[in-house]
Amino acid sequence: MSTAPLTRTEMAQRVAADIPEGAYVNLGIGLPTSVSNFLDPAKEVILHTENGMLGMGPEAHGDEIDPDLINAGKIAVTALPGASYFHHADSFGMMRGGHLDIAVLGAFQVSASGDLANWHTGAPGSIPAVGGAMDLAVGAKKVFVMMELTTKAGDSKLVEKLSYPVTGLGCVTRIFTEVAVFDIDSSAAAATGVSVTELFGGATVASLRELTGLPLIDATSTTASTTALA
């Protein structure tokens, strides 16, 4: 157990550790993208970008920059040996068809039954924009969420029921936060399906139960928090 909550860098490292060799992975825009910096170069992980590529390499710099080779965040990237390009219907068919092993996404909220909210604040007057968020939520075999556990106001973002507009129902399987890792068993009753598998920075299962208001299962000593490919 760490002595301080994880930094964002440490969170990205922690997520990276759960991505096994050979996994086909989509890293969402923003914080999840940084996970790629911590994938062990000695193990091959095959990154998907929904605008039409598998085998995406690191961000492009200098002469490598090619405006025709970008990721979903519209950042110039590179291609690894073994890469392939395809059109949007094929790319999203790949996602929707359940072929990606893992998607790593940010979230506004996650519910105890794995419902995800990450596309729309629901604020009046805001212009709706969804992009590929809903496709990623329903498509990947495992959906990892990477988020700070509380809002700036101190409210838990892991909740019994979403108050933000839903992106996908029952889709999140694991949540990485600065204070704990949570596993969601969507086959269990919503309230009892959430386990705490790791704690960081002095958080306790009891303190997290209080914060979230959920009857969290203590799995910190029993669960090996690693991911094997299905």
């Binding site: 970008t49 929904e50 605008n51 039409g52 590529m53 090619d66 405006p67 025709d68 080779l69 970008i70 990721n71 519209k74 291609a79 390009y85 395809f86 059109h87 949007h88 219907a89 790319s91 999203f92 068919g93 996602m95 929707r96 729309h120 007057g125 805001s126 212009i127 709706p128 924009a129 969804v130 992009g131 590929g132 968020a133 809903m134 496709d135 329903v138 498509g139 507009p165 839903v166 992106t167 996908g168 129902l169």
Partner: protein, 225 residues
């Protein structure tokens, strides 16, 4: 002899009428047919419904088309971006209607139109605000939403190379919506960087067969953006 090569971008878009539905390829700048969009602005057809993943960036291309007042409706997945100020303002002023579609459903609706599918059930969006008012169905225990094909009168796309039959290859992630939009429009117009002799494109590697392409125009020189 069949030749789909058209002399210039202005001739290529000259018959797009007011009120047309026009698909425009590209994801961000990659694959955006900027010179065809500029020609469309010069052409001046109004009341257009535009299908694109986004709703324009900066003050060029699609953003400029919106700014020019020619767009009545946008169908897209992600209009709100850091530099989508032109769309944002037009939308808030009520000058442009917006239909937001999840990106994969947008792609699949375009593909369905090209493939003659009357509609399909997709899990994407089920149980969300974007499924409200749509038919939904539980199939094998999973929730799905019914989505309809999305047809267009014209598609403006950007490809890398073409031959005179309209066979196309693309470049890297600039491929994105081009191949499916080409199938979904009554008239598809491709701006390309190079026209090669017939037979030079390897039949194994043609991405868009010429059957889906009506006009090819070599995009020479610099676009406004």
């Amino acid at each position: 002899m069949v030749s789909k090569i058209v002399d210039d971008v202005d001739a290529a878009v000259a018959d797009i009428p007011d009120g047309a539905t026009v698909m425009i390829g590209g994801f961000g700048q990659a694959g955006q047919p900027v010179q065809l969009i500029d020609a469309l602005i010069r052409h001046g057809a109004s009341g257009l419904t535009i299908v694109n993943n986004n709703a324009g960036n900066g003050e060029v291309g699609l953003a400029l088309l919106i700014k020019s007042g020619f767009v009545a409706k946008m169908i897209c997945s992600f209009p709100r971006q850091i530099d989508s100020q032109i769309f944002d303002e037009a939308y808030r002023a009520g000058r442009v209607e917006l239909e937001v579609v999840p990106q994969g459903n947008l792609a699949e609706r375009i593909r369905a139109a090209g493939a003659g599918i009357g509609g399909f059930f997709t899990p994407t969006g089920y149980g969300t605000l974007l499924a409200e008012g749509k038919e939904s169905r539980i199939i094998d225990g999973r929730g799905y939403v019914f989505e309809s094909p999305l047809h267009a009168d014209f598609a403006l796309i950007k490809a890398h190379r073409a031959d005179r039959w309209g066979n196309l290859v693309y470049r890297k992630t600039a491929r994105n919506f081009g191949p499916i939009m080409a199938t979904a429009a009554a008239i598809t117009i491709a701006q390309v960087s190079e026209v090669v002799p017939l037979g030079e494109l390897d039949p194994e590697n043609v991405i868009t067969p010429g059957i889906f392409v009506n006009r090819v125009v070599l995009a020479a020189g610099k676009a406004s953006s």
